[in-house]
Amino acid sequence: MSPQAKKQENKILILATETCAYPGADSVGQAHSTYPANTYILRVRAPVLFPESFYFDCFKKGISGIIVMSCGEECPYEGAFTAMAKRLDGVYKKMKAMELDLKRLRLTAICTVCNRSFLNEVNQMDKLVRELGPPIFKK
């Protein structure tokens, strides 16, 4: 094993809700399935916390893809899912204006045992970011 980590390209950030998607990711682990290691799962209470700028800052910092894994309509914070989905619409509009591929940002609902959906989402995003490479911001 090399003593030093190599610089990793094409990182994917996953915002996973603590009640649904995060335990869902654990369930994939319990099943010992594998998926690409360029994925970083952050446990969140409700993704409505993140402003539009958060997503662009991530892209600017070099994150290649973001998956918001929510509870969907089953979100325990009433109204939060709708508010967050609306925010992402705004993000998509700006991404379009910036000529960022919209597929770099995905919103999906993952449940506590949705192993296959989880793997699908992650693999698809991985494929995409490998094709697209890191985001480039045209002024």
């Binding site: 980590a5 610089k7 010992h32 998926y35 290691a37 970083y40 209470r45 409505v48 109204g79």
Partner: protein, 601 residues
Amino acid sequence: MTEKNTDNKKVGVYICYCGGNISDHVDVEEVKKRAEKMPNVVVARTNMFMCSDPGQELIINDLKSGKIDRVVVASCAPSLHEATFRDAIKRAGSNPFIYEHANIREQVSWVHHGEPATDKATILIASAAAKANLLTPLDPIRVEAKKHTTVIGGGIAGIKTAIDIAQTGINVALIEKSSLLGGQLNNLDKLAPSGEKASEVLQELLDQILTHKSITIHTDCEIEAVQGYVGNFSLSISKKSDNKIEKLNIETGAIVMATGAIPYIPFDGEFGFGQHEQVITLQNLIQILKNNKSTGSILEVNGKRIRNIVMIHCVGSRQIPGIHQPKEDGKLNEYCSRTCCAAMLNASNQIKENFPATRIYEMYRDIRTYGRGQEELYTQASANKVVFMRYEANAQPEVSLTRDSDYPFQVKVKDSLTFNEEMDVPADLVVLATGIEPDDVSGLASMMKLPIGTDKFLLEVHPKLRPVEFPITGIFLAGTCQAPMDVGEACNAAGAAAVKASALLRKGFIELDPFVAEVNPNKCQGHGACIEACLKEGALTLVEVDIDGKTVKRAQVTAAMCLGCGACAAVCPEKAIDINGWALKQYEDMVDAIVSDGFAV
């Protein structure tokens, strides 16, 4: 090492081998070496089993000696041992919220292998350490709570709720709008399925409630305003007594809605109702049977001998858009009223058993004798020779007056039990199995911001997880204000609501999660964007404060109401509001740690 610690926290990182589960795929010692170089990390240690006592001791010793003041454990999923490690921190005399978890088993060693696993574990630890650096000690939010509950509605559900809560040492006020307790039970007689007398069932509870020292009953009362939040609600009530109106105020810790439901009244002409006095509702029939003194082999109603009764099920229930005619307000009752099938069969059996010469035809869509003892009513009705005829929703029975027959009515029905043949059934009496409708509590609901469902009944948070709770902490619901229920089910709901209310208030204060929004008074400019974004009315308000002699507006959080979702943090242009324990700023630093490969390169 010195310069990286100016006004920063001293993070300790503890990495678990999990007896090979982690270390077979992650080079734990290498991760430790890298962690030692991370900003703010003052010590990194490894252990075969962090969750074991020796593992926990490592953390406790470092905290106690003052070496560290923030903790990161890298091990299995937080669902397993986050609580274990927070407890260990408490045992060391520190605040449990200075802890962050790195999930390097379920989300690393079990899904990735070799070098990428080691690198990813490093990065997750770096990001956890970045978050730990921003964590602050937190205390549960303590809200003083009045050991008092107000139950609104004095039907059986409200009465049962009040008795149950009072029994655990909490004072109760029961508010009833009419002058009588008991609600619908006052209109019923022998209850389905096993025939208890409604009056006796009610009396048993009335005996308990009327003598209970800690329950105050307020009849003829209307609630005019509700203010406050969990533990500290205040109700303004007006009470009618001898032509004058008295005002009273109740300070209360929790509220239970038990406002019940009302029987469906058919519209004029619905199956001839309102036009012929021999077309009656199930409620009417129950009254008739209750007061009936006639003997003999045939039922008499208003002096008329009733040879044939046609009973039509699902009147005012199970209505289908496009098929059924809505009432004037455009409303359709799409739900099943749940109690009418059993109540109808119960009445049929009473009639057949007392007046065997009276013939009964039940026209139904589905017989819903689902509950314990109910199917027996159905079997018994068949044995009693009640005739069952089945109609489809789109081919309702038609009631018409006859001219030359010996019977006043004729009911036309297409019976799907016999080749969908159209039949005319002569009748002396038509009984409509009218269901129930929610009472209009929209006024109360809007005062307390309670959700109402599309069926117009009050809507719980979640039918399985939190069936007797509203999204407003401290407000509960019980009985038929939620949905049709029979008496036993309404009393169960009452018990469930009571247990929640007494668990909430029993200590006289309530401890809530500290994960709520907090405003930074130095940054807030009073824009109010957060208030607009807030999902919970009342959790955030703009208040006027004095700063250097000037009156300015500032956002203020009512912690007891805040959901901690963070909708506010996302919109503040000054970044002046954030969520304790789950702050946006923490996530930004975590992303920085991730993109810089855990500072390990």
